[in-house]
């Protein structure tokens, strides 16, 4: 049976395609989002995927396989492949057959199941079996508190998601904390989906929102919901201070209650904002054989205080030691925040299993349509290498060619025209190579912010840019994440980290914060034609293209 009016095409490989132009697309998306993960959302057809995790998560939230099947069949354009319905029934039927509970006799944890064969199968598994303690009785095995995370991971890999009914450590209470800012509808929805009314199945997971959509506020809403001491981990000192400022500005907390734990300060307060760098600082005197706590002394921050919530900002950047530390603290509520859950190392699965499943995601273009992020146009500007550069490029070792192409002088000529075109706008020039950035800074007498710039100077320059004192700021990759420059409306990218998709999206994100005059954001990426720069650009643009951003491609001469 074919119903061309319906918006969904359910594929036998468990992907679900949503035709945006269909009249029923909105309703279908609303239902689909409860049990399928949004994979990409280009202009016409969005791709969702039914994963074991998304289905288990749906089961946890009370959805049953029948409802999922009804949604799929009801909105489907073609008959739903039977294997999809079988998989839905099978996967959703798996959740909860193994439970992780408190063992009140020992005060520890135990896993149990009503199916003797299942618990036997699990206990005989090589990975999961070693994480189980003694058999307490017929169908119960003891579990050490520290093995809670690894065991859940191991069982997840086995295909038997555990219903974790052991609950969370409530942590020290954070009395009287309230938000003073109003949450937008999607922020409220994201926070409440994560919190799940305080039930054991909530309180962990990842919220994915576009840059500039206000993830920080979602983190603060989570903190208020949990009402407990909170550790926030973010990417840099600048970002940490931004968090502190936001918390003080948008909650009832005062400066004594919010601390910074970084290379510069070591404050541990009811709400502490730390950086990944300090947590992963390795003691030079310790070798790889040493215990994690000895090698990374600041990781102890996770255990030293009775946190009731840990917020991981830019969770897609989670470094390996923090992964391992997180595995040990599964009794603490966890929230991951990101705009681009794309890890170039492909470890998205680890994020899900340790922080928790994706709880909320929404297409960028949808928020743009609602006016919560600025509408943006993306343009690829192509420049031609000069004959000398072309020859230099040709004879350079292939591993160094990108640098030759990315730092072409022709890019500066194009930059001249772009800056001229955007005179009066707030322009960020972003690049990878310091020589190039310094040359740009010198050319336009603009300040440059790089990793070598001290935090204090950085803050001053960012502030000057925010206030409008500086119309042009040249930044390196230090400004890729978590830097709030709301009035920037033009970003010009000269070079980047090869083909990194998430970097491109994050850089666009610098100009996506809604403008006070509801103005348009403009993103340029300047690319050297017929070089690896152009090839990398193709890959870099993929994430944004999948979010519905169509690039215009123009020749520099046509500017």
């Amino acid at each position: 049976v074919v119903d061309p009016a319906n918006p969904l095409i359910v594929q036998s490989d468990l992907t679900v395609l949503l035709e945006v132009a269909s009249a029923h697309a909105g309703k279908a998306r609303e239902r689909l989002a409860r049990f399928a993960e949004l994979e990409k959302a280009p202009e016409h057809i969005h791709t969702y995927r039914l994963t074991p995790l998304s289905l288990w998560n749906a089961a946890v939230s009370g959805l049953d396989a029948g409802e999922v099947a009804m949604t799929l069949s009801g909105f489907a354009k073609y008959p739903v492949p039977p294997n999809v319905l079988t998989e839905v029934h099978d996967q959703m039927g798996r959740y909860g057959r193994i439970r992780l509970v408190r063992d009140f006799d020992s005060g520890g944890l135990a896993i149990t199941s009503e199916e003797a064969a299942l618990i036997e199968e699990v206990s005989r598994d090589k990975a999961a079996g070693t994480l189980l303690g003694e058999r307490l009785d017929g169908n119960r095995f003891a579990v050490r508190l520290g093995d809670r995370g690894p065991l859940k991971q191991a069982l997840l890999r086995l295909g038997w998601p555990v219903a974790d009914e052991a609950g969370y450590d409530e942590g020290s209470p954070l009395d009287g904390v309230e938000l003073t800012a109003e949450l937008r509808s999607y922020q409220a929805e994201a926070a409440s989906t994560w919190w799940a009314q305080g039930e054991a199945f909530g309180g962990n997971g990842v919220v994915v929102l576009p840059c500039g959509a206000g993830k920080t506020l979602v983190g603060m809403a989570a903190m208020v919901a949990s009402g407990s001491h909170t550790l926030i981990v973010c990417t840099s000192i600048s970002a940490a201070r931004q968090w502190v400022r936001e918390i003080l500005h948008k909650t009832t907390l005062n400066a004594d209650q919010v601390g910074e734990y970084s290379g510069e300060r070591k404050e541990i307060r009811p709400v502490t904002v730390a950086t990944y760098q300090i947590l992963t600082w390795a003691d030079p005197g310790a070798s790889d054989d040493h215990d994690l706590g000895v090698r990374f002394p600041h990781l102890g921050l996770f255990d030293q205080h009775e946190w009731g919530l840990i917020v991981y900002d830019e969770v897609h950047l989670l470094p390996a030691p923090v992964f391992r530390a997180t595995a040990r603290i599964q009794s603490v509520r966890r929230l991951g925040l990101t705009a681009t859950l794309v890890r170039e190392d492909g470890r998205e699965g680890d994020v899900f299993s340790l922080i928790g499943p994706k709880r909320y995601d929404t297409p960028w273009k949808e928020l743009e349509a609602l006016g919560w992020i600025a509408p943006a146009t993306c343009t690829e500007v192509r420049v031609e290498l000069s004959d000398e550069e072309r020859m230099a490029y040709a004879i350079t070792d292939p591993t160094a060619r990108y640098r030759v192409a990315a730092t072409s002088k022709a890019k500066l000529d194009a930059l001249d025209r772009l800056i001229e075109r955007h005179r009066g706008d707030r322009v960020l020039v972003i690049g990878q190579f310091l020589d190039q950035l310094k040359a740009v800074g010198k050319r336009y007498a603009a300040p440059v912010v790089t990793g070598q710039t001290s935090t204090k100077v950085r803050e001053e320059r960012f502030e000057a840019f925010r206030s409008g004192e500086l119309p042009l700021l040249v930044v390196s990759k230090v400004a890729n994440f978590s830097i709030d420059l709301p009035e920037a409306n033009v970003a010009i990218q000269l070079s980047g980290t090869f083909g990194s998709r998430q970097e491109e999206a994050q850089r666009l994100g610098r100009v996506l914060r809604p403008k006070s005059d509801s103005g348009q954001a403009t993103f340029y990426t300047v690319v050297a034609r017929d070089t690896v720069d152009q090839q990398f650009a193709l890959n870099r643009q993929r994430f944004l293209a999948e979010q519905g951003y169509g690039y215009r491609i123009v020749d520099a001469d046509a500017l």
């Binding site: 095409i9 490989d13 280009p42 202009e43 057809i45 073609y78 008959p79 039977p82 293209a545 690039y551």
Partner: protein
């Protein structure tokens, strides 16, 4: 009356009514298919003697009678029987060709209902004659129904009467007088449990142990045991060669308990002894499986995958043709090598290659000659054959139908186009079993195999059935994975309503992330073209391609052009083409422009420089001079010659006879992918081996035609026509006999003349006989 099988079947068929004919052809699908023009039976025979295609007038009772009474026809009939009917037929043969109902109910391990059903099936398929009894085998079947072991019935000639008497005496039974009586008595004694037990009790312990081994091994195929496995180094009936084990085996052989093949050095329990031991020929009776049907992915499968695989094969071998083996075959390595590009398993690749050969889409091409004189060998490769252009001009539906029908009618064996009937039967039986399942449903693979092997356990072993199912998946009739059932498209194809290619939502969506989402139903040629410029990311219903710079560049180098490709993408897309996609395509087109490699269609070599200049001046010839005496043209050899001839330059096609100019095709020339030299508007003539006739429709038509023919065969005018034809045949035979007689008389006279030393006139004649010896002297 001692009728031949053919006469007997003819008589039976003449008594059939329409329902009985339909039941016969439904139960025996290959018979129905065989009656089709071009069907499997029509392709039996050798070379020039291949049986001509039947026309409607010949599709008569006589033809059916002939087909089903041949040894091959009877074997195929048996192969179609379900296991229950098969066992009942064997039981009848075991009892001399007949079994009564009461006897069957009393002696066989089946319920009366099972027996009735089996008997009805045997009668329906003309294996038994219900007019003569409950189950009475028709003539000829006793020779083709194999007993499940070595029976004395099959070795009567090898057993002397004295030998039978000795056996009887060892069983303490007085031998009757005649050999048939002795055989019956011996078989009865061996099948009598008490007598047999007494005989076994009388054996020496080593012989008894050996008998236990043989009983255990008798149930396993092949039923015979090498004597070495029994501890006998070598067995001979001569008593001079003795070991304890040999003595034990000899004791069993002398007691007529064991049959020994001295040539093969194997021993087997006489089937009669096995029946005596286990109490019945078939201790158990097969149960009809009751498989549970499950829904299938109705949209999966279809023509896309098989046709794309075929296209990929043809393209791959056009670009890099594998050598023809000295045996004339295709190197296994070449088939394996194409499996990956085709996106199929190696086994599936074999099927695709086989079908390409049977469709004459692949042919041998001579690319050179090596050696001289006696050692001269033509170097040949497998390349797309002359039918390739015709194939490309067919619509998707017609291509798929031809592909499926070729599979149903094949496979061919040998070099004379004979059909492997057993394999052909297996394919038909599996298809018919799947057609019988409710629409939109299928069976789990294990259930499907059980059903097929019980229903047709001779024609379909588990291995054969599994292989046929795999082939059905390759052909797109069954979903590529999951339960086994015919997809909607497959049912439409078999019912004569093949999907036209353009589905309700045909076309695609080109997205800014360079993906092209193609909904089901797109034309295969369009998909093939997309496949050349994009990477297939998913074919789980909607096919998702991602335009890929490397592939685009390769396609551009192979003859694709940016404008054409963009026009193609835009024409099929339901949304405007994104700008980034346009840039992607144009970028790819720009890159290979720096240096290009192409193939010239023909070259023109000419010693006369002025003539060559004149030829190069002809625009239509598209010649480019690359040396003082050589010019090249992208045109094919024939087109170049035509272009030159149109302007008055007539060229010879060979360089050997000192021509004024010579034209030679450049070896290795291949058309760019996706293009064909055949004009798109050319009238298409289907090669004779292809059929776009849908299987079920044609089979049904054959049934109707046959039924009409059968029903009309009893009418006076049809009888008169048959009588006239018989008379005409007789006249021809008489003429031939007369000619032969005359020739013999001449020879007698010649001999007499020779013996009498008389003068004789001798001459050579061109045609002495009109028959097989035509041309003799």
């Amino acid at each position: 009356v001692d009728l031949s099988p053919r006469q007997e079947r003819l008589g039976a068929l003449l008594g059939f009514d329409a329902g009985a004919i339909d039941a016969l052809l439904t139960g025996h699908p290959l018979l129905a298919a065989a009656l089709l023009p071009g069907g499997p039976f029509a392709r039996m025979g050798h070379g020039a003697y291949r049986k001509p295609t039947l026309d409607d007038a010949e599709r008569t009772v006589d033809e059916v009678a002939r087909l089903i009474s041949t040894r091959a026809g009877m074997a195929l009939t048996i192969a179609t029987l379900d296991q229950s009917a098969y066992q009942l037929a064997i039981e009848a043969r075991w009892r001399g060709g007949t079994i009564e109902r009461s006897q069957a109910v009393a002696e066989l391990a089946a319920t009366p209902e099972q027996l009735e059903e089996a008997a009805a099936q045997l009668a329906r398929l003309l294996v038994t004659d219900p007019a003569r009894g409950w189950v009475v085998l028709r003539p000829g079947f006793d020779e083709v129904l194999p007993l499940p072991g070595v029976s004395m019935l099959d070795r009567v000639k090898a057993l002397s009467s004295d030998r039978l008497a000795t056996g009887l005496r060892s069983l303490r039974v007085d031998p009757p007088r005649t050999k048939p009586e002795r055989l019956d008595a011996l078989r009865a004694a061996l099948m009598d449990k008490a007598t047999l037990e007494a005989a076994i009790d009388g054996l020496d312990p080593p012989a008894r142990q050996m008998l236990d081994v043989l009983v255990a091994r008798a149930a396993e195929p092949p039923g015979t045991v090498p004597v070495a496995d029994l501890g006998v180094p070598y067995y001979s009936s001569y008593r001079s060669f003795r070991t304890p084990a040999t003595d034990a085996l000899r004791q069993l052989a002398d007691g007529m308990l064991v049959c020994i093949d001295e040539y093969e050095q194997t021993a087997a329990l006489w089937l009669e002894v096995l029946v005596g031991v286990q109490g019945a020929l078939h201790p158990s009776w097969p149960q009809q499986p009751q498989p549970v049907t499950v829904p299938i992915d109705r949209l999966a499968g279809g023509p896309t995958r098989p046709l794309l695989a075929l296209e990929a094969l043809l393209e791959a071998w056009a670009a890099a043709a594998p050598a023809v083996l000295k045996t004339g075959g295709i190197p296994v390595r070449a088939v394996r090598a194409v499996a990956k590009p085709l996106g199929v398993s190696e086994a599936a690749a074999v099927t695709v290659v086989q079908l390409a050969l049977e469709l004459d889409l692949l042919a041998r091409h001579t690319v050179g000659v090596s050696g001289r004189g006696r050692n001269r060998v033509e170097d040949q490769v497998w390349r797309p054959g002359p039918h390739r252009a015709v194939w490309s001009s067919l619509a998707t539906a017609d291509r798929w139908t031809a592909l499926v029908q070729t599979w149903l009618d094949g496979p061919e064996t040998g070099s004379y186009g004979q059909v492997d009937l057993a394999e052909c039967a297996a394919r038909h039986l599996v298809i018919d079993a799947l057609v019988a399942q409710p629409e939109g449903t299928g069976l789990a693979l294990a259930d499907a195999l059980e059903l097929l092997t019980v229903r047709h356990h001779i024609a379909l072993s588990a291995t054969t059935a599994a292989r046929v199912i795999d082939e059905l998946r390759v052909l797109g009739l069954v979903p590529p994975e999951g339960p086994v059932g015919l997809t909607d498209a497959a049912r439409r194809l078999l019912a004569g309503d093949a999907p036209s290619g353009a589905g309700p939502a045909a076309g695609w969506v080109v997205q800014p992330d360079h993906t092209v989402m193609v909904e089901p139903g797109a034309e295969v040629d369009a998909l093939a073209r997309l496949g050349r410029v994009a990477v297939l990311e998913s074919d789980a219903g909607v096919r998702i391609y991602r335009l890929d710079p490397a592939r685009l560049a390769a396609a551009m180098a192979g003859g694709e052009d940016a404008d054409g490709l963009l026009a193609f993408l835009a024409a099929g897309s339901r949304v405007p083409l994104p700008e980034v996609v346009e840039h992607l395509v144009r970028d790819a087109a720009r890159r290979p422009a720096a240096a290009t490699i192409g193939t010239a269609g023909s070259y023109l070599s000419c010693d006369d420089s002025s003539m060559l200049t004149k030829a190069v001046a002809i625009k239509a010839a598209k010649l480019t001079r690359i040396a003082p005496s050589v010019a090249v043209s992208p045109l094919s050899e024939a087109k170049l010659a035509a272009a030159l001839a149109s302007k008055g330059i007539v060229l010879t096609a060979s360089a050997s006879a000192s021509p004024r100019a010579a034209i030679t095709g450049v070896a290795g020339r291949s058309a760019p992918p996706g293009r064909s030299d055949a004009p798109a508007t050319a009238e298409v003539t289907m090669p004779p081996t292809w059929s776009t006739r849908p299987h079920l429709v044609a089979t049904a038509a054959a049934r109707i035609a046959l039924r009409d023919a059968l029903l009309s065969s009893t009418q006076p005018e049809v009888r008169a026509r048959r009588e006239a034809r018989r008379k005409a045949d007789q006249d021809v035979r008489l003429a031939r006999i007369r000619a032969e007689m005359e020739a013999r008389r001449n020879l007698v006279e010649l001999r007499a003349d020779f013996e009498g030393a008389a003068a004789a006139w001798m001459e050579q004649t061109d045609r002495l006989f009109d028959g097989d010896n035509a041309g003799g002297r």
